[in-house]
Structures are given as structure tokens and as C-alpha cells.
Amino acid sequence: MMMTERETKRPSTVLTKRNNALVSKAVAGKLKAYYDDIASQDVPDRFIELLDKLDNEEK
């Protein structure tokens, strides 16, 4: 059944679909690399200090 469906599709449609999937993957990869690079940076001390200060104020 699936083979029949595939065979009836025009080659260009199949190629476009495959291309879209590759493009989607490439975009996701680029975005992820960019994002993970930021996420791997050290968090500025001011945030740690702020949390410590907030926590101490409660005591």
C-alpha cells in the first residue's frame, strides 16, 4: 500500500519533501548550536549573588 502511494507521487514531490526535511534539519542544527553555545556560558555572578541575598533575607 505504501509502495503504491510512493510510486504514484511525482519524483519532484518526493525530492522536495526530502529537501524540506534536510533544510529543516540544517536550520534546527544551526539554531541549536547557537543556543547551546549561549547556554554553556558561565552565568554572571550577579545572579548567584542575587539568589544568595534573597535567600539570606528570609532568614
Partner: protein, 199 residues
């Protein structure tokens, strides 16, 4: 998923089990890197993004008794940050849109200089996306939230998030000029460009 969109605005009737301050603080510190990555990629400027993170930390701490232990703290923090972004930062909307317009204008004026996809870096390309598409893409494709979690963070239907992510992907691939297999081979060796250079 128990992430109410109006987590701050509505008093919690049944906040559920609470965490100790120490546990809350420890968990929040663990989420700071991804919270910051979301802020920077959403806002586009490190200084403004860090102000936003600071506001989020303050707000989250003040509302910590409303956070139910065992639920998704990252999504909860993202929700607060996003609300903060819209209520405070978007007041400077004109400013932001003017900046977007300037970037868009320079791209339009010099298309011949952007023949290579690396010419527009990821940060600049993100800035050119409509903000609703940008946040959806960042939540799902970069922060690895599920469509359901992203929908809860943004307070919209799952289908809306899916369509925003799809549109953002198409737009971003155009902006990055990832046209097809011929370009794809090249994308692999550009992935390790440090974001610091782009910001």
C-alpha cells in the same frame, strides 16, 4: 503539565506541595543557563536579556510558594520571563521594531553581499522573525520544550505553536539561505561559530 499561563497574576488556590527555600534556590540556579539562553536569543542583546533574567529571578523568588514541587520549573521560569518580556520590554516596542526595520532594510539594500548563508548570522536572522514565531521556535527547537509545554508557556493552543514553529523554520532557512543539499554540506562546518561573536 501544570504550567498555568497566568501563574503570577492568579492567586494559587491549591499550590500543591512546596519546596524548601534551599531546594528552590538550588533548582533555580540549575535552570539559569537555559533561562539566560532563552532571554538572550529572544531579546537579541545580552545586557537587556540579563536585566530580564534578573527581573525573572526576583519575581520567581517572590512567588516561590506558588510553585508546586514536582512540576516543570524550567517551563514555569520561562513563563515568568516571557510575561516579563511582554509587560516591560515590549513597552519599548517602537524602539525594538525600529531596530528590526534597520536590520531588514540593510539586508534588502545589499542582497548581493549576502550570497553566502553565513553572511547573516543566526542572531540577526532570529531578530528578523516576528516575535511570536521567534519565541515558539526557541522554546521548541532550541530549548527542547514539548509543543504542549511551549503552548502552556505562551498561553496558546498547541496547533498555534506548531504552525508558528513551522513558519519560523521556513523563514529562518530563507534568512540563513539554506536552500538545499548543495548548501547543507557547508552548514555543518559553520555550526561552531561562537555566539559571542554574533552578539
Amino acid at each position: 503539565m501544570n504550567v498555568a499561563h497566568d501563574v503570577i497574576a492568579t492567586p494559587a488556590i491549591n499550590p500543591g506541595p512546596q519546596m524548601s527555600d534551599r531546594d528552590f534556590k538550588r533548582d533555580m540556579m540549575g535552570h539559569l543557563p537555559s533561562l539566560r539562553a532563552f532571554a538572550i536569543s529572544l531579546v537579541g542583546k545580552v545586557d537587556s536579556a540579563d536585566d530580564l533574567v534578573q527581573e525573572t529571578v526576583l519575581k520567581a523568588w517572590a512567588n516561590r510558594t506558588r510553585f508546586a514541587a514536582g512540576t516543570n520549573m524550567r517551563a514555569w521560569l520561562f513563563t515568568i520571563l516571557r510575561n516579563e518580556f511582554y509587560s516591560v520590554f515590549r513597552k519599548r516596542r517602537r524602539e525594538v521594531e525600529d531596530a528590526d526595520g534597520l536590520i531588514a532594510g540593510s539586508v534588502a539594500v545589499h542582497p548581493e553581499q549576502h550570497g553566502h548563508m553565513d553572511m547573516i548570522d543566526t542572531q540577526a536572522a532570529l531578530a528578523l522573525l516576528p516575535v511570536d514565531q521567534r519565541e515558539a521556535l526557541l522554546l521548541v527547537a532550541a530549548s527542547d520544550l514539548s509543543y504542549e509545554e511551549a503552548a502552556a508557556v505562551c498561553g496558546v493552543a498547541v496547533g498555534t505553536i506548531k504552525s508558528r514553529v513551522n513558519r519560523a523554520r521556513v523563514r529562518l532557512s530563507t534568512l540563513l539561505q539554506i536552500a538545499g543539499p548543495a548548501e547543507l554540506g557547508r552548514s555543518a562546518d559553520t555550526q561552531d561559530i561562537p555566539a559571542s561573536r554574533q552578539l
